[in-house]
């Protein structure tokens, strides 16, 4: 095995494991290529089975010959291993460090993982763009599938198939791509059947300082408007930032050149600002020594909830343009791979009941995040504990999930999935046995042959035994647009993520169980009553007709 050289000490006895909510346990520590395993010797069961890729940072310290390794995970958990023997401890630490920061993606666990479950449906084929497009094609003929990016030549971060206005040919798309950051020409993100309005997304236009134009770009964008209609361009950067981008060749749509469009600037933070925010928040949550004032002040200083509010507000604005103003929108920031996707996907959560179902949400993640080229590999490389900060690391996807949780909290009966589902997606985005979140875009995934070599997360999730864990017992289909409140009073810290390892969830879990029981019992009764009614009806028709009913 190619990891053998990294594992200096594969096994240490008498290691003591400390973790939140469990008593300390002594056992044997084993290192494999992808896992850190601790099993207590008594009954030979594993106490801990941790993916190396879930390890964000480690600290080590020594008291005499007793070494202690503190492992900080990407899911924010902190565990401690007491290892007798300095050499063993150092070996283990350096092995973990090496194994948790493998350079090559193909060495990652998903390439080695062999599923122990029966695949009912291959998740790699669950959400094909053609199928998604079919959902629209019954409602509109103004759009078409384009294969212009088949070889990823036009836009490396786009999928091979995109939806574009029918009236725009592939040649024009190629031209537009050269005018948009990263070749990300405007594509359809969402078609709102209720009034035919659309959400488009793209990269920023490369206007530069001298105000370059692109006829095809203008034509494309206008082609999405219906006669006499206006649209909004939502730039997720503040005007200032957008103006500064011109100096680096970027820019924004000048309204003189897009007269039917009105531009709105919102300010959603990116990159290190978000990463800093996450680091501060997790630090505040982990610090149990401070008093109430310090806690609130640190919570405030982290700015996490400010980002949540900003993103949600922009998404509400987008949804409002569509539903209330009856206007189409184009959304972009700089690259169009981060804040843009937060907004387009959240707007769909607000507008579209389908995206509030499990299947629909998976499709949304697939469409608006994975295929849309959110660079998961880069963004989720490290989490809140890592000291070597890279500028491309940012909890963009986690912020999105948090926003969804905020809406879920405000509309607890309108989502088919529960909080566990969101937590699960967070975990798998950062460390997983599945290939779904590997790579930065479809092009990279294609080259890695993920479909052939790894298992899709959706294959694992979309099995009845798993789905029932993620199903919200309170769900009642709600076909309405759901408008969340973005007032500070309405937004809360997502305890299920950030306090998960700092407080016991026992009582909340019990409450959840109670909810399930109440609803299950009701369903049971319902079923029983229906059976009896049917029986009774049969008997009574027998009675009245004098012969057995033909249609039981």
């Amino acid at each position: 095995m190619e990891f053998a050289e990294l594992i200096k000490t594969p096994r240490v006895d008498n290691v003591v494991l400390h973790r939140p909510f469990y008593p300390a346990v002594e056992g044997t520590l084993c290192l494999t290529g992808h896992h850190l395993i601790l099993s207590s010797r008594q009954d030979n069961t594993e106490e801990l089975w941790l993916l190396h890729s879930n390890i964000d940072a480690i600290d080590k310290r020594f008291v005499g010959s007793l070494g202690t390794i503190i492992i900080k995970c990407k899911d924010f958990r902190i565990i401690q291993l007491d290892i007798p023997g300095m050499e063993e401890c150092l070996n283990i630490a350096s092995s973990i460090e090496a194994l948790s920061t493998l350079d090559s993606i193909t060495l990652m666990y998903p390439f080695f993982y062999r599923p122990m479950f029966e695949v009912i449906e291959d998740g790699w084929h669950s959400f094909l763009p053609e199928q998604e497009f079919e959902l629209y094609s019954s409602a509109t003929s103004e759009w078409r599938l384009s294969y212009v990016n088949k070889e990823f030549a036009v836009c490396p971060s786009y999928p091979p198939i995109v939806i574009v206005p029918k009236s725009i040919d592939d040649e024009a798309l190629r031209k537009v791509a050269t005018f948009r950051h990263g070749g990300r020409f405007p594509v359809l993100s969402y078609y709102y059947k209720k009034n035919g309005m659309v959400i488009m997304r793209s990269g920023q236009p490369l206007t530069g300082t001298n105000g370059r134009r692109c006829k095809e770009d203008e034509k494309l964008i206008n082609a999405t408007l219906r006669a006499g209609k206006r649209g909004y361009i939502i730039d997720t950067r503040s005007l200032n930032v957008a103006q500064q981008a011109r100096a680096r060749g970027g820019g924004f749509e000048q309204e003189a050149h897009y007269p039917q469009w009105r531009r709105i600037h919102k300010s959603i933070e990116r990159y290190h600002v978000l990463q800093e925010s996450l680091i501060k928040l997790v630090e505040a949550c982990n610090d149990q020594t401070h008093n109430m004032d310090r806690w609130l002040s640190k919570l405030e200083a982290s700015n996490w909830l400010t980002h949540i509010k900003e993103i949600l507000t922009t998404a509400c604005l987008a949804a409002q343009c569509i539903d209330r103003e009856g206007a189409s929108i184009l959304i972009h920031g700089t690259e169009g791979t981060d804040s843009t996707l937060q907004v387009t996907s959240l707007a769909q959560i607000i507008l579209d009941p389908r995206s509030r179902t499990i299947r629909g949400f998976e499709a949304l993640v697939e469409r608006e995040w994975l295929q849309a080229g959110h660079p998961f590999q880069q963004r989720c490389a490290q989490s809140a504990y890592c000291s070597s900060k890279q500028k491309w690391e940012a909890p963009v996807f986690l912020l999105f999930l948090d926003c969804v949780w905020q809406i879920l909290r405000q509309f607890p009966c309108s989502f088919e999935f529960n909080e566990h589902f969101l937590v699960m997606l967070f975990e798998h985005a950062y460390a997983s046995q599945f290939g779904t979140f590997l790579g930065n875009n479809e092009s990279e995934r294609c080259k890695l042959k993920l479909q052939q070599k790894t298992m899709s997360l959706w294959s694992w999730v979309n099995r009845p035994s798993k789905l029932c864990q993620f199903t919200n017992p309170l769900f009642e289909a709600n076909n309405l647009v759901i408008w969340p409140s973005v007032a500070p009073q309405s937004l809360q810290l997502w305890e299920g993520i950030f306090l998960r390892w700092n407080r016991s969830s026992k009582y909340q879990d019990e409450a959840y169980e109670e909810v399930v029981n109440i609803i299950e019992y009701n369903k049971e009764l319902q079923a029983k009553v229906n059976i009896l009614r049917r029986q009774l009806a049969e008997l009574e028709t027998e009675d009245s007709c004098g012969r057995p009913s033909e249609h039981p």
């Binding site: 050269t178 000048q254 509400c316 209330r324 709600n478 909340q508 109670e514 009701n522 009764l525």
Partner: protein, 660 residues
């Protein structure tokens, strides 16, 4: 009524606090007990009723072109803004309300005119619903260690205590009276809660008049007697709920705290809860935050921190947790006091009792708890909640804090309480409403003199009658959370304490979760109950028919209409279907076209966003100057097909076009 200068004003506007653009036109009525606003809208005729006793402050604001604004802040955290067309009317309403909101006699309060159409017998029964002697019996008293004392018969010893009190058996009348003379306002140590599992108890009193060196033998004997009443423990805790500095300052006034050297076997403990003045200011600051027009997240969190409110809530909880642990885990009895022993002491004793005894977490038990620790032990409801015109410095949200503590606990233990959040909110409302007699006056003695029970109705009976509204669907008497003590983590856990928007922003419906899990689950449970009944009926009928068929007798059975309940809706469709109030920066989304820039609406699509999105309005307008009015510049006026427009040949622009 003589104080009403004008009983009716027409064409008054009720301003929607969240979006100032929305307002309702209607008529304002002043009655002897209420301010009533009736909307003109013929289809709804929506009415807003405000009890005079709920009014906290009335503010007349500067007259504008539309009229004279009047801001009414209520004690239940409702804020009403009215615009009255005529300044004179506004002034009349203002002056009337100032007087009406501050009655000088108890008889002016609503409970003396409130008539729920119950006969005398029903009213009397209502008052009998909660009986404290039953409660002491439930605790297992009297027993070998505790007895009912009649020392305070006719309030002879202490006029703010009840007449029926439990004291240690070994505490003679002499000791009690002696001790009472050594305690502020003669509030001697008496039993608040007895934990029959292990004989430990919680007693309460006021501070001792110890000054720098004074002693009182009887008081020392009294504490000794409390210790002896718990044979398994050789000490008692004395918990002074004040900050140490405050307690020390009291010594200079001849008051103070117990000297451990003088009392045998006590463990003395300070738990710093601030006084009523600090709490009043803290709430005031927090309400200012809640009232902010469109706060940013930072404004809000900073304001919340700055108010200190959650810190105070936590201090009260910590004290309750400390006492509950002492009683249940150490098996030690605790004597609790503050200064007079009627504010912080009441808070802390009731929080501890709630943690210790699941009975207090039931609907009826919670009423008993308030009756016992607050009403009977002389919490000064009239002074604290300003029912009658009085010293504003006496007002303080003492019981509000206790109610919030209960809510914080409910959040932590969702299955532990038989009642729901609504129950707490309604109790808070009625503490201020004076619609029922329970919370009138400052002591049992005063209530007796006023003959409250003969002249008013009891809130407890009212709540009990409507108990279906107040049930927590997750509560099950056989659930583990409803057994024994509630155990909270020992770590600080500041993050456990959250802002209670359901209380302090409860009139801003848009801020609350739009779907109520409680109501949904209650509806499901109700349906289940009906299904159970139907199931039984169906089984019966089935059996009958089968029997009949066996007998080959044709009996025409009537197919009864299946009485399925109409089902339950999870969402309040009307609210779910309108854009919510995106307050913060945004209040509500404008329903008009965003292109009609309206400076007044601080809404999403305005000013900051819409206008500044036109770069020409900002300093560095270069090539784009002159495009501010986009609608005029729209080349085709939006009439042509967009594609046609962009296909037009524009020579002048050619130069800057990208040649791909």
């Amino acid at each position: 009524m003589e104080h009403i200068r004008t009983p009716k004003v027409e064409n008054v506007r009720l301003v929607d606090r969240v979006s100032s653009k929305k307002s309702a036109l209607g008529t304002l009525y002043l009655t002897a007990t209420h301010v009533i606003f009736v909307e003109n809208a013929p289809d709804t005729r929506k009415e807003t009723w405000i009890l005079h006793s709920q009014i906290s402050t009335i503010e007349k604001q500067a007259t504008t072109a539309t009229g004279c604004p009047l801001l009414i802040r209520c004690k239940n955290f409702q804020i009403i803004q009215l615009i009255i067309p005529q300044e004179r009317d506004c002034h009349d309403v203002y002056v009337s309300l100032i007087r009406l909101a501050k009655p000088v006699k108890y008889e002016e309060l609503y409970c003396f005119s409130f008539n729920p159409k119950l006969d005398k017998e029903e009213r009397e029964q209502g008052w009998m619903l909660i009986d404290l002697s039953d409660e002491y019996k439930r605790m297992g008293l009297p027993n070998n260690f505790w007895q009912l004392s009649d020392v305070n018969r006719d309030y002879r010893v202490c006029d703010s205590y009840p007449t029926e009190l439990y004291v240690p058996k070994s505490a003679t009348a002499h000791i009690i009276v002696g001790s009472s003379k050594f305690r502020s306002r003669r509030r001697f140590p008496a039993l608040s809660y007895y934990h029959k599992d292990n004989h430990a108890s919680i007693c309460r009193s006021s501070q001792p008049l110890s000054g720098f060196s004074a002693r009182c033998l009887e008081d020392e004997q009294m504490l000794q007697a409390i210790r002896k009443a718990n044979p398994r423990s050789d000490f008692i805790y004395v918990v002074d709920t004040r900050p140490k500095l405050n307690a020390m300052a009291n010594r200079a006034a001849g008051k103070g705290y117990e000297n451990e050297d003088n009392y045998s076997n006590i463990k003395f403990q300070f738990i710093g809860i601030e006084n009523i003045h600090v709490m009043r200011n803290s709430l005031q600051k927090m309400l200012e935050v809640c009232e902010l027009k469109s706060p940013s997240m930072s404004d809000f969190l900073w304001g919340l921190e700055n108010s200190g409110w959650l810190r105070h809530i936590k201090a009260i909880m910590d004290a309750g947790i400390f006492i509950a642990k002492a009683v249940s885990e150490e098996g030690a009895s605790v004597l609790v006091h503050c200064s007079d022993g009627w504010d912080r002491t009441a808070q802390v004793c009731s929080v501890a009792s709630l943690l210790l005894d699941p009975h207090y977490r039931t609907l009826k038990g919670f009423m008993v708890l308030i009756e016992k620790d607050w009403i009977s032990f002389g919490h000064k409801f009239n002074h604290r909640y300003g029912n009658l015109d009085g010293d504003p410095k006496e007002i303080s949200p003492v019981i509000d804090q206790f109610i919030e503590c209960v809510w914080q606990l409910m959040e932590q233990f969702p299955c532990a309480f038989e009642f729901n959040e609504r129950f707490l909110i309604h109790i808070q409302h009625h503490i201020y409403s004076c619609q029922f007699g329970n919370f009138l006056c400052n002591s049992q003695k005063e209530r007796g003199e006023l003959k409250i029970q003969e002249r008013t109705y009891s809130l407890w009976a009212h709540l009990w009658k409507n108990r279906a509204d107040y049930l927590n669907p997750l509560f099950r008497a056989d659930h583990s959370q409803t057994q024994g003590s509630l155990h909270l983590p020992t770590t600080p856990c500041n993050f456990m304490y959250k802002f209670w928007s359901g209380m302090y922003n409860r009139f801003e419906k848009g801020m609350q979760p739009r779907q109520s899990v409680t109501d949904y689950l209650m509806a499901v449970k109700e349906e289940s109950q009906q299904l159970e009944e139907e199931l039984e009926a169906l089984e019966e009928r089935l059996e009958k028919i089968q029997k009949v068929q066996l007998n080959c007798t044709k009996v025409k059975s009537k197919q009864s209409e299946s009485s399925r309940p109409s089902g339950f809706s999870t969402s309040d469709n009307s609210t779910a279907n309108t854009p919510q109030d995106y307050s913060g920066n945004l209040k509500s989304f404008p329903s008009r076209s965003p292109s009609q820039g309206d400076e007044d609406s601080a809404l999403i699509l305005t000013q900051d966003n819409l206008k500044s999105s036109d770069p020409d309005l900002s300093a560095n307008s270069d090539q784009e100057s002159g495009v501010e009015d986009l609608s005029c510049r729209s080349p085709s006026g939006g009439e042509h097909a967009p594609s046609e427009d962009s296909g037009k040949d524009r020579d002048s622009d050619e130069a800057v076009f990208l040649t791909a």
